[in-house]
Symmetry: C2
Amino acid sequence: MKNLCAYCCLVGLYYVLLGCTSLSKEAPHQQDEVLYQVSTIDALLSGDYDGTVTCGELRQHGDFGIGTFNGLDGEMLQLDGEIFKIRSDGKAYAVPDSTRTPFASVTHFSADTVIELSGRLSYEQLCAYIDSLVPTENIFYAIKVEGEFAYVKARSVPRQSKPYLPLVEVVKTQPTFEFEHETGTLLGFRTPPYMKGLNVPGYHLHFLTSDHARGGHVMACTLGKVKLSIDYTSAFHMVLPATGTFQRVDLTQDKQEELEKVEK
Amino acid sequence: MKNLCAYCCLVGLYYVLLGCTSLSKEAPHQQDEVLYQVSTIDALLSGDYDGTVTCGELRQHGDFGIGTFNGLDGEMLQLDGEIFKIRSDGKAYAVPDSTRTPFASVTHFSADTVIELSGRLSYEQLCAYIDSLVPTENIFYAIKVEGEFAYVKARSVPRQSKPYLPLVEVVKTQPTFEFEHETGTLLGFRTPPYMKGLNVPGYHLHFLTSDHARGGHVMACTLGKVKLSIDYTSAFHMVLPATGTFQRVDLTQDKQEELEKVEK
């Protein structure tokens, strides 16, 4: 019922209030594309911040994605193959291939659906709109929103020192950044509900300004005129860290509550 | 504490009662091997019994594994590349490459640890012994037990007709088979706890007699003289069905209770 209400609300927003225009909405189909993931979100939530996979390796498996870096040194965003590190100063830095990641998700982005939107959609409205477009919540979707943003609130995480605190503690003091009338790209994934423990169920999006100078993990936004591209992804590949810390971390507990605190 | 007790108990069993002999126990290490999986266990529990992946495709991704067939037509067991269908008469049949599966897990088996055991270990003792051997419960293990079995209790599932019943209903009338003083192979996987919803956390083993004539999903056993081989597997690849039934199945509910009824 909740979903139906959200759908009706969004249909209304779409046709009446916002004047969105569908430029090319192909018939929904699944492509044999893969979401490649390093480690699990619950390991990251537990403070397992040092992985073994390099950004060079990551780039072999995708040109588009999000994640973080060893020591939790900032938010990762990969766009058109290039990997950016958005540190706790809110600035985006180029990343050498040798930099390692404890958690990341990437794919080779190839849009199945492209729609132009021209209204002031909030983050929640954008998510509900995508919910109403896609054929099922049981596969993965890579999501790219490019264009003008009336407002973006983002955060990054400060680099940690050992002994590492759990992520839910780290984000209590996270720096946040606000952008107004900025052009850029919002990108990330919509992940199925059964992926709880492995990835973030629902939406997880990062932002990068069009001059590749600033960005972060998106907490709120108001869209302007943007192009929404969605890549249907029906395969998932996960590599688990060959580290002693990953081997020892307790992954038997439900961390959904911690995840919600971290993602909001 | 429970795990510690189980460990101590097993160490005692190992050195005192059973006279197990370690022939070649290599230092634990992770190999870049992949557990390839079709669909999710929760989709199967929900009655999504018709997949699109063929056994021919499955064989490209592994030579060892377990699963089932479209219409829930028996238990799948793959050994040395060959795929067997153990139907509800308890007999094993050869499977053409064109046969499709709604759920299966396979890997290219390559033992990291090989141990000879010569005591009358029960199923639970075998599992607790493997628990005590492996370095972490956070990666996957492919498990092969070859040799003499004092006793095996196995089941298979009868082929279903549409509209499909959920698996928890099907297994209420499942045929079971008992084997005594039989040679054969017990094989399957130990899966991490965080895979709940996607696969069966813990142990999931099928059995095939050495003449490849009979077998089933293992419910209980007593080992004789056997060789235990374990393949450490730290990558996971899942392909989701491109079917309307998979798209529509509700995968938001926790099905752990149903799974326990099905697996016991």
